[in-house]
Amino acid sequence: MNKEEAVEKARKDLAQRLKVDAADIKDSVEDADFPDMALGASEDGEMSGQMITRGWRIRLSAGGQSHEYRADKNQVRLYKYKGKNYRV
């Protein structure tokens, strides 16, 4: 998965969650180092390799609210959405 594919996956996920049109979601993306292989966004009961992992921080805004996704070539995760992390 490349950066564009990761952003696309994140936009689709947020559109479904918020029940909005994906075209109405604004995004900004930056390269980032995450603390582990779950990109610092482990789900409950999940264990991850403790290796610094290069990826992308994707910030999506819709309906006046901002949400953070984290991605690398293997995965996309939603970070602290209503207090919880999700693998997308």
Binding site: G40, G45, G49, M51
Partner: protein, 466 residues
Amino acid sequence: MNRNNVVIHLALAVVLILVAAFAGQLNRWRKHWKSQLHIIPAEEKRRATSTTEAIALTDIRGFGRPEVLVKFKSGVSQETIDELTSRMNDRVEDRIENAPGWEAIDDLDNANVNAIIAQYSSIPQVEFVEENYEIKADDSLLPVLPHDPQFGEQWALANSGQRGGKKGADVSATLAWATTTGSDDIVVAVLDSGVDYNHEDLAPNMWTRPDSMPPYQDNELGAIDDVNGFNAIDNASDPMDENGHGTHCAGIIGAEGENDLGIAGVNWHVRIMPLKFMNAGGYGTTKDAIEAINYVIDRKKAGVNVRIISASWGGTQRSRALEEVIRKAYENDILFVAAAGNSSVNNDRNPHYPSSYNVPNVVSVAALDRNDQLAGFSNYGVKSVAVAAPGVDILSTWLGNSYEEKSGTSMATPVVAGVAALVLAEHPHMSVDDLRKKLLASSDPIVALKGKVGSGGRINAAKAVE
């Protein structure tokens, strides 16, 4: 003769004089070396880059070693000395230039050294006689350097100040290797994303289930052909790594040394047991980690000498079941080395599991950079983190016969697991309690670790294997 010819002749004469002087000095050096009681010269030992070679050199030097050093009284001529020694079927092996009157005597009959001393003591022309002791004391302190082509990048093992690092900020592996380079009898379980067991720098050091040992029996699934290890994700036999993380950790512990390929592991020789519980993304479940640890305990009971589990992973959720199975590993004399985590937090206040479990076999590891500073990402905790090891820009094996540099307490953990394996290679019957104590007590105090990790130190392989 014109002016040019004079200059050429003068220059030639100067060169000849210099060559003659150098040759004379070489001869003096040679004689001086011979008089040094036949200790292996440091330069020669350093060229002995494998243990086998070093032993071979030692043997060569040991052959024909003079038995005694004799001091004849002043005024005794060389002819008299030659006559006296020849009468006893001995030979003056060397005159010791820096100690006037002393001769190194080789007894050609290979008689007992005490008898030779008694013989020479009875000769009126002899002032003193003593045994030519073999001096070996410092041999083990000479560094042993492998020929692996990328070893120069392995600052964790030998920090020469490369890429702006601090010289000596390493785990003293090259000194440890003068004592041991590891053992095929020690098995280290790499509990991770599996291992690329076909990697050319790892393949010779991979564990495989002996033919004589029955396959693993899972309570629900029955027999699993664990010839290459165990895959807890699929409850299957193939622990092939699809991520790279486990392969990286395995290389730090035991990439084959002195094989003219890539890197050297902390152990040149060891047996790595691959266990897979994390997927291609590098994450997995607590349940699968527990199953893999149960597998290790089962294999230990079946006769595999697996003494260490290297666990470069973790999370913030406590699991009583995981803690219990790690305690079960302790009861089976297995050390559990675990990553402290990469969130820059104090684990005493914000625990990270499994490294924060208060079980006697757990060694929680923080990460250091190449300047002996706690890595910016590393977790710490004077009560809950035991020791630190290099964990930034660590070069190791990766999927498909490649090599990559990675950072994390994930990388520091197998350094400590590897040193533990070296200790066991030298002290195979050491208990898990003593092994843990040894690792921490032999660490080097580091200013940056004071109040940050329990031992206050960086792991030191050379001191640990003593």
